[in-house]
């Protein structure tokens, strides 16, 4: 039983951050129909920026976000303005290929700057543990859980009750009508993309303590994010957070109960199964 609780707790904690990663992608998809295949490489970028700040100024990752979030948000805005916006209106698949190209650029840009050796960024809370009865929790995971949920709730409130949030929802529901109501659709799309990348900078810092990082990891994060977004029905806010928890728990169960490869396969098997047999969550099926 202890193992079960342990797996559940660990899965929930990590899953909340997965949910946060996916919220950014879901927002962007909802507003501009773009699926960013370089998502995971932006997470890498955030992590390596924290590493760089640690090596240069010995900043703790949790402090580095003060710098990484604005920088990544700005990068996100530039990427959307100069790379993705010119492609909107072209075939959907060209954006996929463009972001795949961007993924190569980011991944290997990081490799050129930091080298290919796995690296760690120390943090003061890295090895601290929190023991609740039989369950041992790592403090960085608890911090990630709390901040992820706080941010998710903040985003939810923002979408519900601010003008910017309402304009995001309006563009998501019907971009044409939103434009007719005087909403600057282009501006909303840029800001949403920038916001999505900015969230990644935060999520990167949350995932970083205790995790070895290397430049080639981006694609795996992209895949995990895609799994979560798809499980959550692409644009459904609550669904995405739930999807994050499911993937987190699947991963934790897989690594604890099943050994080796099959454990790692668990999230993918669940993803394929849900995608094929429970497609009613996939509200985006008719779009191309």
């Amino acid at each position: 039983m202890t193992e079960l609780y342990q797996a559940l707790a660990q899965g929930l904690l990590i899953g909340s951050t997965y949910g946060l990663l996916a919220l950014g992608m879901g927002l962007v998809y909802g507003v501009s129909g773009v699926v960013n295949f370089s998502h995971g490489d932006f997470i890498s970028l955030g992590m390596f920026m924290c590493l760089g700040l640690y090596s240069a100024l010995s900043l703790d990752p949790y402090v580095s976000v003060i710098i990484t979030v604005p920088v990544m948000t700005a990068i996100g805005a530039l990427v959307y303005l100069f790379l993705i916006r010119p492609m909107v209106g072209h075939q959907f698949l060209m954006v996929v290929q463009l972001t795949l190209g961007l993924s190569l650029v980011l991944q290997n840009g990081i490799l050129m700057v930091f080298g290919g050796q796995p690296a760690r960024t120390p943090s003061i809370v890295e090895s601290k543990l929190w023991i609740l009865g039989d369950v041992v929790l790592r403090v960085p995971h608890v911090i990630a859980f709390v901040i992820s949920f706080a941010l998710a709730i903040g985003l939810y409130v923002m979408l519900r009750s601010t003008d910017f949030g309402r304009s995001i929802r309006a563009v998501h529901q019907n971009a044409h009508a939103a434009a007719l109501m005087g909403i600057d659709v282009g501006r909303v799309q840029v800001l949403t993309f920038a916001l999505g990348i900015g969230i990644l900078a935060l999520a990167a810092a949350l995932l970083l303590p205790g995790t070895p990082i290397q430049p080639t990891q981006g694609l795996r994060y992209t895949v995990i994010t895609l799994l979560v977004v798809v499980l959550g029905g692409m644009t459904n806010f609550v669904g995405i957070m739930l999807g994050g928890l499911i993937i987190g728990i699947a991963e934790a169960f897989g690594t604890i109960y099943l050994d080796g490869a099959i454990g790692l396969l668990m999230p993918y098997i669940i993803f394929v199964a849900i995608m094929l047999f429970r497609p009613q969550g996939l509200t985006w099926r008719s779009s191309k």
Binding site: L83, L98, G101, G109, V230, A261, L265
Partner: protein, 325 residues
């Protein structure tokens, strides 16, 4: 089959180019010969991917599975069970074909959209990589070293250097010609109607399932065969190269840069980008690892932004303009 295909087959330009290319080993140093051989591997792979990704418009990211099966399984069969690599090539190709048919069937049965197809095939590719890295029989994470290439043809050895070059040239030519053949056969027309509007294609009586499966099986078998030849050329069955989704992404990008859905587009993309990347890696690789992939990425982004249909249509337009003036 339209007349164009026979015209291409009997065209002196084709055979002239092939003959000139076949003479390259006598003109190039072994370093440049290696680069051209690699370029031909990717010409073959990008062309085989084009059948599904370009003509049928289904961006499959599962091709690393077929390449990986062709490379890792045939190596494992040889090293662990002593099965001749020719037989291994056939076994791998059959398994890849069956797997391809299954993926196409899933796509049809569950009516996946374009995006879901990309995602599901990416999930399959990741699963394949995890399985190979965790399964000792297929070499695990450390890979397998094949016996030295002594040029024994019956053991699927071509002696490296010029012998391997000719094999790759043949494979690349076959893959490109299969593209030409399909584009000029009814299959090619069906695939393009499916790409442009699947529902309309079905409505006018195109058997979507049958042609999707046919395209995927042809593509998978070609990719698998090229995978086997590639691993024999490399002599080292490296899972991080041969069954990593990154190899598919490279192929997709070559095809996109050259021109999707065109017979010679993917070949053009690979012939331009692979030598560029390899030369850069040779010159700067030790100082800046990753630079050649970085440049690939930049070139791909630039080409997609400048000419979303790829370089081939651009060249054709220039050629037309130049001929008229």
């Amino acid at each position: 089959m339209k007349q164009e295909f026979y015209d291409t087959l009997s065209s002196p330009i084709l055979w002239g180019v092939l003959l000139l290319a076949a003479l390259l080993p006598f003109a190039l140093s072994s370093y440049y010969l290696h680069i051209v051989t690699l370029a031909l591997v990717y010409v073959a792979l990008a062309s085989s991917w084009n059948i599904v990704g370009g003509m049928a418009g289904q961006v499959s990211l599962a091709h690393s599975l077929f390449i990986g099966i062709g490379a890792m399984l045939s190596s494992a069969l040889l090293l662990k069970l002593g099965i001749n690599m020719w037989l291994g090539l056939v076994i791998s190709a059959v398994i890849s074909g069956v797997l391809g048919a299954m993926i196409a069937w899933i796509d049809f049965r569950f009516q996946l959209g374009h995006l879901s197809f990309v995602l599901i095939t990416l999930a399959f590719a990741e699963m394949g990589a995890i399985v190979v890295e965790g399964w000792e029989f297929l070499g695990g994470a450390s890979g397998m070293l094949l016996p030295k290439d002594t040029g024994d043809f019956l053991a699927f050895q071509f002696g490296g250097g010029s012998g391997s070059f000719w094999v790759m040239l043949t494979l690349a030519a076959v893959c490109v010609l299969v593209n030409v053949a399909i584009l000029n056969a009814p299959l090619g027309f069906y695939l393009r109607t499916i790409r442009d509007n699947e529902k309309a294609a079905q409505a006018i009586g195109v058997n979507v399932l049958r042609y999707k499966i046919t395209a995927m099986v042809i593509s998978a078998v070609l990719a698998s065969v090229v995978g086997t030849a590639y691993v024999r050329y490399l002599t080292f069955a490296d899972p991080y190269l041969l069954i990593s989704p990154v190899i598919t992404i490279e192929i997709v990008l070559f095809a996109t840069v050259g021109g999707l859905g065109r017979a010679y587009g993917p070949a053009l993309g690979a012939l331009l980008l692979v030598p560029l990347g390899e030369v850069l890696r040779g010159k700067l690789g030790s100082a800046l690892p990753g630079l050649h992939y970085f440049i690939y990425g930049v070139v791909v982004i630039a080409v997609i932004l400048a000419t979303p249909r790829g370089l081939l249509p651009l060249f054709e337009r220039q050629w037309e303009r130049w001929r008229r003036s």
